[in-house]
């Protein structure tokens, strides 16, 4: 996030709210497109969203967004009011989605501090044509007329009674004074015609007969006329000049007022043709509003709801809070496990320390829960991906979402959205067959992709399952051979290992690069993204039946339960969730194979041993198995025995990423990050999945 982004809360709010609305709208469109028609609720909602975005972006001076939103609003206005039949909803969806994409791109530019200079003229033109087409179906009258009749209906207000009065004078005696008033409005007030209308409306009962120039206040052009030439009103009244002057002077935005008394009836008599003057019975409307009066119950419930119960907080602030809580967890450990306290009998201190520990952990849980966001948004976005892919590739795919309410840390969500999209594109592009091929294979014409999320301990599993053709084992093998990616002897490789070859850098099974997937980056980028948040991905496939991809991602990044261990003078931390057991090995259980690989026999099973001191070149006195300890860890159905000097103890640790210069200059593998321990020493957090690859290759 740039500094600018930080300093401009309004901009931030604009981006946040607009994105939220846009996404909501996208969902609505995709949901409605399935039924090939838009229901009235959706139309209303989309209209309102476009209206809001139009207003907000205009306020922020993002005129290109505002103009585009305006033309979409116009289209939905007609849909809402005229309810035209036989609209081409697929074309409409395309146009609106294109508009959504444009706005998204512009907002992304704004977010990055770039100029939002995109030009949507072509799209606006298409929208205008669409607008004209649907309008032509129902109406032949002018724009403004539609708008006016429509708005009055749209608000479900009682259709205002309008009547025209002729210049026939009633009670001529009591309305003896005739005036001519010319009003000028301030330049920037906008909608001058309606300001003028307001003036007439305010005079209300004071005046009897009147007419004005320009005559037609409903026409938009009249606003310009009034702006330039003022608004001139002739009227008869029984009030004095002073009284009228006072009333008219109260007009808001009034710049100049000229009021003169004219000779009786003079201007009126000049008018030979009948003046149509629009009178509105303003008195009736407030009274009629009791019609839609809300019940007392409702009022009460709303008045209690009126207090804001949700506030939005910037993620940067949450990150900072999380950091602080992390520091506090460390500080707490530093105090309560302070080396100075060793050997002292401190009953009261212990009690207070326990209390501190309890509160710290509650605080931590609360902050964590604040950061948790359901996957719904990310999952819903995939609907769009599927739709676009199907349209382009002429495939028919249904996306099923399961467990979208599963919550994940906000930071993690940001990292998995793109990989998920990429994987789904891959599934549709390479996995799901063309409808005709599917029929030949006796499958339903439409393919199904199931996107499922579920909790599994400290992780969340995201599973993408398709019922396509499955991976082609032979093809993967030949490709892997060609690229020299095979590390396991070919006769020993398992199916699962073959499938997981596709995640290796530089692997892509499709020879022809298509528009959507396989732009040369492919799977390894997905893997990198997932690994960046401490996750892992595995693949399984049944030829002809489909493919299952499983993403395993941690619930949260920041704080983990860890077991601290000691090797020489170094400290390491193993995530508790990965530990199966720890034990002191017996020398008799150790087996060494001809390649000098050490293994240990536990309950009849053989597991590889990894000596941490060798792996990280640490000097230690404990090199004999019998003197140290074995910690058995498991990840993705693989088990490894880590050999260390001793266990220090279990503790919650705050994960800090490794300093960039270490990450870049040395190719450190098997480390997820580092942390500070209670005594102030630094501990390296082991990345268990990373250790397995280390074990294999090294």
């Amino acid at each position: 996030m740039t500094d600018q982004y930080h300093n401009e809360p309004m901009l931030e709010l604009f981006i946040f709210e607009s994105m939220q609305l846009i996404e909501q709208m996208e969902q609505l469109i995709i949901a409605n497109e399935k039924f090939e028609s838009y229901d009235s609720d959706a139309i209303n909602e989309i209209f309102r969203i476009m209206h809001t975005i139009k207003g907000s972006s205009a306020m922020m001076l993002f005129n290109n967004i505002s103009t585009l939103a305006h033309s979409m609003e116009d289209v939905f206005f007609v849909l809402r009011e005229d309810k035209p039949q036989n609209i081409d909803s697929s074309q409409l969806s395309d146009l609106v989605l294109e508009g959504i994409d444009f706005i998204k791109v512009e907002i992304a530019k704004i977010r990055n501090g770039d100029e939002a200079e995109g030009d949507a003229a072509a799209l606006i033109e298409s929208l205008r044509i669409f607008h004209a087409t649907i309008k032509a179906q129902n109406y032949t009258v002018s724009d403004q007329e539609i708008k006016d009749t429509a708005t009055s209906q749209g608000n479900s207000a009682p259709k205002k009674q309008q009547y025209y009065i002729s210049k026939v004078r009633t009670e001529p005696q009591s309305y003896s004074n005739s005036f001519q008033a010319t009003l000028y409005f301030e330049e920037d007030c906008g909608m001058e015609n309606l300001r003028a209308f307001g003036v007439v409306n305010d005079l209300g009962d004071l005046v009897k007969e009147y007419y004005h120039i320009p005559e037609d206040l409903d026409h938009e052009d009249s606003a310009e006329v009034i702006q330039e030439q003022g608004f001139t009103l002739f009227f008869k009244t029984d009030r004095s000049l002073e009284e009228i002057h006072r009333t008219l002077s109260q007009t808001i935005y009034l710049k100049d007022l000229q009021l003169t008394q004219v000779k009786n009836s003079e201007p009126f008599d000049d008018l030979h043709e009948e003046r149509k003057i629009l009178l509105n019975d303003s008195a009736k409307i407030p009274a009629s509003s009791s019609r839609e009066g809300i019940t007392n119950d409702q009022k009460e419930s709303y008045s209690s709801a009126s207090q804001q119960s949700i506030i939005s907080v910037s993620v940067a602030k949450l990150d900072q809070l999380m950091d602080l809580v992390g520091e506090m967890v460390i500080a707490e450990a530093m105090v309560t496990q302070n080396p100075d306290l060793k050997g002292l009998e401190l009953n009261n201190f212990e009690k207070a320390a326990r209390q501190l520990r309890k509160i710290t952990s509650e605080l931590q849980d609360t902050v964590m829960s604040v950061r948790m966001v359901p996957l719904t948004g990310t999952f819903q976005k995939m609907n769009r991906t599927v739709r676009d892919m199907c349209k382009k590739l002429n495939k028919d795919v249904r996306l099923e979402l399961i467990g979208q309410e599963t919550e994940v840390d906000k930071n993690i969500i940001e990292h998995i959205s793109d990989p998920l999209m990429h994987l789904i594109r891959n599934s549709i592009d390479h996995g799901i067959e063309m409808p005709s091929d599917r029929e030949m294979k006796g499958k339903p014409r439409w393919g199904t992709i199931i996107l499922e999320a579920k909790n599994a301990g400290g992780d969340v599993l995201i599973i993408i399952r398709d019922d396509g053709g499955g991976f082609n084992k032979a093809k993967i093998m030949s490709k892997a051979r060609e690229k020299g990616l095979l590390q396991v002897p070919e006769d020993e490789i398992t199916d699962k290992e073959i499938y997981n070859l596709v995640f290796l850098p530089g692997f892509s099974t499709n020879e022809t690069v298509t528009e959507f997937s396989g732009r040369g980056v492919g799977m390894d980028v997905v893997v990198k993204n997932i690994e960046a948040v401490g996750g892992a991905i595995t693949a399984d496939s049944v030829p002809g039946k489909g493919t299952t991809l499983t993403l395993k991602i941690p619930l949260t990044l920041a704080i983990i339960d860890g077991m601290n261990i000691k090797v020489g003078d170094s400290r390491y931390t193993i995530p508790t969730t990965a530990i199966k057991e720890s034990f002191r090995p017996k020398t008799t259980d150790i087996i060494v194979d001809p390649d000098d690989n050490e293994m240990i026999m536990v309950r009849g099973q053989c597991f590889p041993i990894l000596r941490l001191h060798r792996r990280y070149h640490v000097n230690t006195l404990v090199t004999n198995f019998a003197d140290g300890i074995i910690i058995m860890v498991e990840q993705d159905d693989q088990t490894l025995c880590i050999f260390a000097d001793e266990l220090i103890g279990q503790q919650q640790v705050v994960v800090k990423s490794l300093p960039a210069y270490i990450k870049h200059t040395k190719k450190v593998t098997g480390l997820a990050g580092c942390t500070l321990l209670g005594d102030g020493s630094i501990s390296l957090i082991l990345d268990i999945a990373g250790l397995f690859t280390v074990k294999k290759t090294g």
């Binding site: 708005t151 009055s152 309606l194 009460e300």
Partner: protein, 120 residues
């Protein structure tokens, strides 16, 4: 200090208006996100002036204006409209809105409008 109630379904607009009035001698007593809430907040808080968006979910600004005017004929409501809403603005005037302001507007215009409506 005069009291103001902001009614708008877009948080962006609510905050915009609030920010624009930051250094003004006016107290923002509440923010409502739709007409229904606006009406009940008006009754509870009795603000001196209301800025009222027109297009909102649950209950539109026009309906809310009517209910507020029925409850308090002296209510001072400024409609916040945008281009293309002429028809509704007209209805709002008929229903007793003091005046209206057209989006996008600048800070000064908002100040001027509010002080004029309040008769300061």
């Amino acid at each position: 200090m005069k009291k103001l109630l902001i009614v708008d379904d877009a948080a962006f607009m609510r905050v915009s208006i609030r920010n624009m009035l930051q250094n003004q001698d006016i107290e923002i007593v509440g923010e409502a996100a739709n007409g229904l809430i606006a009406v009940s907040m008006y009754k509870e808080l009795r603000p001196d002036v209301v800025t009222m968006d027109i297009t909102m979910p649950e209950m539109s600004g026009i309906e809310a204006l009517k209910l507020i005017k029925a409850f308090d004929p002296q209510a001072k409501v400024i409609m916040v409209s945008s281009m293309g809403q002429e028809g509704m603005v007209k209805q709002a005037i008929i229903s007793g809105a003091k005046t209206f302001i057209v989006k996008p507007f600048k800070e000064e215009l908002l100040h001027k409008t509010i002080s004029k409506v309040l008769g300061v």
